[in-house]
Structure formats: structure tokens, C-alpha cells
């Protein structure tokens, strides 16, 4: 065992200031490569920052819920898929937060936004923050949020800022997969057994009251409803026409579930002021 161990032996070397130097390749694509990060003329920096922050908050909070599934998924393939989706959303969060800090002129970092704000400053939609529930609830939430977010990213409203447009272009590919994953499971569970059908219907019933909040935040009701109806039909499920709950996470109005979620997320960062990670 000589050559094979070079990766290990070289561990302490070639590190200083060279974080990209790993044992086996780097190969990370920079989604903002070649994108001009200067604020285009005529774009309201504060409004752009607020938009990036809201879309970033949706992604971070949902990624946190998906991370809570880790080691608890019904099958290893689902373990991998849910982590994959969580990682995609985390990646979107980081780019959006960084853009928010540039656009509002504050120069705040992704970690400032993630770790140093309290629940009332978060602007995510409330559906993202609800507790996980069973796997059917995981699938129903993912189906709705990925369909909605995909429609937003595909729409015209992300085009005004080149950075947001680049984030959306990357996100579209990811979200199309998230939506496919959720749609396939909705059909499997809707069609599978009596129990899975019952659970999947309950999960759709549970997310229904949060749909209006999504459409109020982003005007993509038509596209989203068409997709949801198609999936529900294929699954033999009913998309309930429940009235929406009043209030919106976009205005800082949250359920009681967000504060504990953030307390966990921020616990280590806040317990070690001045630390570098």
C-alpha cells in the first residue's frame, strides 16, 4: 500500500489559502461565471433585495425541513433524493442571499441573512415551515412548492436582474427534477394501497389552505393549478378547493413552527460569537 495512500499522506500539505485543492478533483461549476454582478440601471436595489431574500428564505426553510428527513427516509433511494433536493435548494439560497446583500447595498453575507435574523424578519411562505409529517406530506409540499417555484423561475419576473436570471436558469433544471420526483410519488401513493391513498389525500388536504398565499406572493396560479390538477388526476386524488388561510409569510406573519426551526438552525453559530467556520 504505497501509491494508493497519497491522498491521505498529502492531507496536511497544499492547503494554505487553497480551499479548492482536494484530493480528487474539484469540478464545481460557478453558476454566476461570466455574469455581471453590477446592479443594472433602472433596477430598484431595495426591491430586488427583498425579492431575492424572500425566494432565498423559501429555499432555506424548505432545505432545513428536508435535512430533518435525513436518516429517516422510507428507503435509501429516497434518502439520496431528499438530500439532493435539499442541497439544490441550499445552493439557490446561498446565491440569492449573496445577491440580496449586494442589491440592498449593505454588503451582508449569506450567513448574515441565514443566522442573524429572527423569525419575524423571514419572508418565506408558511407552507415551507410546517413540520414534516409523514412521507405523503413531504411529497405533497414538495409537489406544490417545486411547481410554484418552477413557474416563478420560468416566468418573466426574474429577467430584470442578470444575477437573478442566472440563478433562475440554474434553478429551473433542478426544480424540474424536484417536481418530477414529487409528482411520481404522488401518483405511486395515490394509486398504491388503500392506506397510501388515504395518506396522500390527507396530505393534499393539508397543503390546500396554503395555496392562496403562494399565488398572492407570485402570480402564477394558472400554471400551478394546471400541473397540480394533472398530477392529482393521474393519482386518482382530489385537489380540494379549500379557502386560503389569512395572512402571509411574505409579510413576516408565520406559524409557531418557524421560530423553533430557526433556533435549531442558528444555535451553533449564535453560541460562538466571533468564531470562523
Amino acid at each position: 500500500m504505497s501509491d494508493d495512500d497519497n491522498a491521505y499522506l498529502g492531507l496536511a500539505e497544499a492547503h494554505e489559502g487553497d480551499e479548492a485543492h482536494w484530493a480528487f478533483g474539484t469540478g464545481f461549476e460557478d453558476p454566476l461565471h461570466g455574469t455581471d454582478t453590477a446592479l443594472p440601471p433602472g433596477v430598484d436595489g431595495q426591491a430586488l433585495a427583498a425579492r431575492c431574500l424572500a425566494l432565498g428564505d423559501d429555499a432555506l426553510v424548505l432545505a432545513q425541513r428536508l435535512a430533518q428527513w435525513c436518516t429517516r427516509a422510507p428507503e435509501l433511494e429516497e434518502e439520496l433524493a431528499l438530500a439532493n433536493i435539499g442541497l439544490d435548494l441550499l445552493g439557490q439560497t446561498r446565491l440569492l442571499y449573496t445577491r440580496a446583500g449586494q442589491a440592498d447595498g449593505s454588503g451582508r453575507s449569506e450567513d448574515d441573512f441565514a443566522y442573524l435574523r429572527d423569525a419575524d424578519a423571514f419572508r418565506n411562505v408558511r407552507l415551507a415551515e410546517l413540520p414534516n409529517g409523514d412521507f405523503a406530506h413531504c411529497v405533497a409540499r414538495l409537489l406544490v412548492l417545486s411547481t410554484w417555484r418552477l413557474a416563478v423561475f420560468e416566468g418573466p419576473t426574474t429577467a430584470a436582474d442578470p444575477v437573478l436570471a442566472a440563478v433562475a436558469a440554474k434553478g429551473i433544471k433542478e426544480l424540474a427534477y424536484h417536481r418530477l420526483y414529487a409528482a411520481e410519488w404522488t401518483v405511486r401513493l395515490g394509486d398504491g394501497t388503500e392506506e397510501s391513498h388515504r395518506r396522500m389525500q390527507q396530505a393534499l388536504d393539508a397543503v390546500a389552505p396554503y395555496l392562496d398565499e403562494l399565488y398572492a406572493a407570485e402570480d402564477v396560479r394558472g400554471q400551478v393549478e394546471a400541473v397540480l390538477r394533472q398530477v392529482a388526476d393521474s393519482a386518482g386524488l382530489v385537489l380540494p378547493g379549500t379557502a386560503g388561510l389569512p395572512g402571509s409569510g411574505r409579510d413576516g406573519e408565520h406559524t409557531e413552527h418557524l421560530a423553533p426551526l430557526l433556533a435549531e438552525l442558528q444555535s451553533v453559530a449564535r453560541a460562538n460569537p466571533g468564531a470562523t467556520w
Binding site: 436518516t71 439520496l80 441550499l90 453559530a269 466571533g274
Partner: protein, 332 residues
């Protein structure tokens, strides 16, 4: 049968002969090849244990994903734990090439009938543990597994190539976290030293009992499943880790640890083998919790797996019906 004793020695079994030649020539045994039952059993046991270790090993670190103190560290850790699930998946697949069944192996794990690496029965108390696990535990895993890339069973050896590349990546990430923390606050440095103190001895135990006490080693070595003895690998690990600890600025908690000029290696103290026995036999700090978490996930997922199977069966039935009605509609 009754006259066998009277006859001259039977000519060597050509299948056994072919297997022995394959091993002797350092060629790979592939799933389609004949192999002795003991070889198959040993491999299934080892690969299953390895797969279980990956899956159970997700738990101590996985619990820190939601609390990682920066988004970059969160993404790195999330991806690492996902990699472990992937390793588990392709190791179970390698076991299936030997006729084992993933569901059956999972049942054996959650019923406590098959083991996993003792190291994952220790708790990960602080975020520094994430770094130390990457450095020590993934490092020890690399020491153990790099030689397995040349293991005689083809699918296992090939799985190990990919696993080792990813483990190596994880180890670097762990070490880089520790370097960063050591450049941070006094509290962070103390956190790192504390984690090193807790993980050092259990990491040395990852190589298994001392050679004199390792009952399965001789046969595994003859079959070239295993390439180095437990003590050789342990020594190797110590020798590689000591300079890294110096570079990092931490102290390894072993007063007997010193360079031996004559041997060209480090002398080191003896791990507490009774502790290893205790942890292996199920009485470590987190054994019950690890297995019960895995069992709960499996049991809570039963209805999902049943639904997927039922849907697949219905789909197959529908396809068949459609095919039948087509052939009725257009008779040849």
C-alpha cells in the same frame, strides 16, 4: 459413497481449481464464477457490515446538518451524509451480486443480527466532532479500504474505488474544518482538542482487535479479500496521523506515543480492548439509539414501500391488459 474411502484420492475439482488459480494469479472473481460457499458467506458478511456501517454512520454527523454554523458547512455536511447513503446503496448492491437481498440484510441489521463499525456507537457532541470524524474516521476508513480496491471479489473491489475517492474528499473537508476552527477563537480550539481526545482511541479500535485475536483474518487473507493485518493498518494510520496532528496544533491523547527511530514508526499505547468488546457486543454509548433510529425509519417507511410495490404491480397488470386488448382488437 460407502466405497469412497477405498478409492484413490479424487482428482481436484475443476471448479475449485479454477477458483484457486484465479486467486493465485491475482485475478478477480466475478458474480458468474463458481466460488466456495465459505468465500461467498465471508464476503456477504463483510460487505453487509460495511454497508450497514455507511448507513448507521450517517447518524452521528447527520444530526449536525440542521445546526451547521455556516451555509457552506451545511452544504458540505449534507453532501457528505448523502454520499454515505450512496455508499450504502452500492455496497448493498455488491452484496446482492452474491445472492443476498437488501431487505433481508436490513432486517438483520435492525434485529441486531449483523454488526456495523463500532465507531458509530460514539456520540458526536459538538460541531468539532464533524471535523474530527472526517479526519480520523474517514481517514481510518481509507486505510482500511484502499487495499480493498484490490480485493479478489470484483464488484466489491470496484465499489471500493469509488467509495475511497469520496472518503478521501470527506477527509480533506473534515481536516479543513479543523484547520479553520484552530485559527478561530480560543473556544473553538478547545472544542477541537476535546473532540480529538474523545475520538482518538475509538478510531484506533476501528481496525479491529489485535492480530492475535482476530479469528477470521487468516482465511480472508488467503482468499485475498483482506490484504493487510489489523495491526499493520493501525500502525499505518498512526504514522500518517501524527504529523497531521502537529500541523493542526492538537495533542493526541496518548502519553506513550513517540517516534521509534529503529522501527521507523511510532510506538503507541494499547487501546482498551475490553471497551471495544463492550461496544461490539452492543453496550456502547449509543448502540441502542443507532439501531432504534434505523428500525423506526424502516418501520415508518413500510407503508410507502408497500404502496410503491402495489403501484408497480398494478401498472404491470394494466400494461398486460392493454396488450391483451390490443391483440384481441387486431387479430393476426
Amino acid at each position: 459413497m460407502t466405497t469412497a474411502a477405498a478409492e484413490p484420492a479424487a482428482p481436484p475439482d475443476p471448479l475449485q481449481q479454477h477458483f484457486d488459480d484465479t486467486i493465485a494469479r491475482d485475478h478477480r472473481v466475478e458474480p458468474r464464477d463458481w466460488m466456495p460457499e465459505g468465500y461467498r458467506r465471508t464476503l456477504v458478511r463483510q460487505i453487509a457490515q460495511h454497508a450497514h456501517s455507511e448507513i448507521i454512520g450517517m447518524q452521528p454527523e447527520g444530526d449536525w446538518i440542521t445546526r451547521a454554523p455556516s451555509l457552506r458547512r451545511k452544504a458540505i455536511l449534507f453532501a457528505k451524509v448523502q454520499d454515505e447513503a450512496g455508499h450504502g446503496l452500492y455496497l448493498y448492491s455488491a452484496a446482492e451480486t452474491l445472492g443476498a437481498d437488501r431487505a433481508d440484510l436490513t432486517r438483520r441489521l435492525i434485529e441486531g443480527r449483523q454488526k456495523y463499525s463500532s465507531i458509530f456507537n460514539y456520540p458526536a457532541d459538538t460541531f468539532a466532532d464533524v471535523g474530527v470524524i472526517g479526519w480520523f474516521v474517514d481517514g481510518a476508513a481509507i486505510c482500511n479500504q484502499v487495499p480493498l480496491c484490490r480485493s479478489s471479489y470484483g464488484p466489491y473491489a470496484r465499489a471500493m474505488v469509488r467509495v475511497c475517492k469520496e472518503e478521501s474528499f470527506h477527509q480533506r473537508q473534515g481536516y479543513e474544518l479543523l484547520l479553520t476552527m484552530m485559527r478561530g477563537t480560543e473556544g473553538q480550539r478547545a472544542m477541537v482538542q476535546n473532540a480529538v481526545d474523545r475520538w482518538w482511541w475509538p478510531s484506533l479500535m476501528m481496525f479491529g482487535p489485535p492480530d492475535g485475536d482476530s479469528p477470521n483474518s487468516a482465511q480472508s487473507t488467503a482468499w485475498k479479500i483482506k490484504r493487510h493485518s489489523n495491526d499493520e493498518l493501525r500502525q499505518r494510520f498512526v504514522d500518517m496521523t501524527v504529523p497531521q496532528a502537529e500541523r493542526l496544533g492538537v495533542t493526541l491523547p496518548d502519553p506513550e506515543l513517540r517516534w521509534n527511530e529503529e522501527r521507523g514508526s511510532h510506538d503507541f499505547g494499547t487501546p482498551d480492548w475490553t471497551e471495544l468488546q463492550r461496544v461490539i457486543s452492543g453496550d456502547g454509548p449509543r448502540n441502542a439509539e443507532r439501531v432504534s433510529r434505523r428500525r423506526a425509519a424502516h418501520e415508518e417507511g413500510t407503508w410507502v414501500r408497500e404502496a410503491a410495490a402495489a403501484h408497480a404491480a398494478k401498472q404491470a397488470e394494466r400494461r398486460e391488459e392493454a396488450a391483451t386488448s390490443r391483440s384481441v382488437a387486431c387479430p393476426r
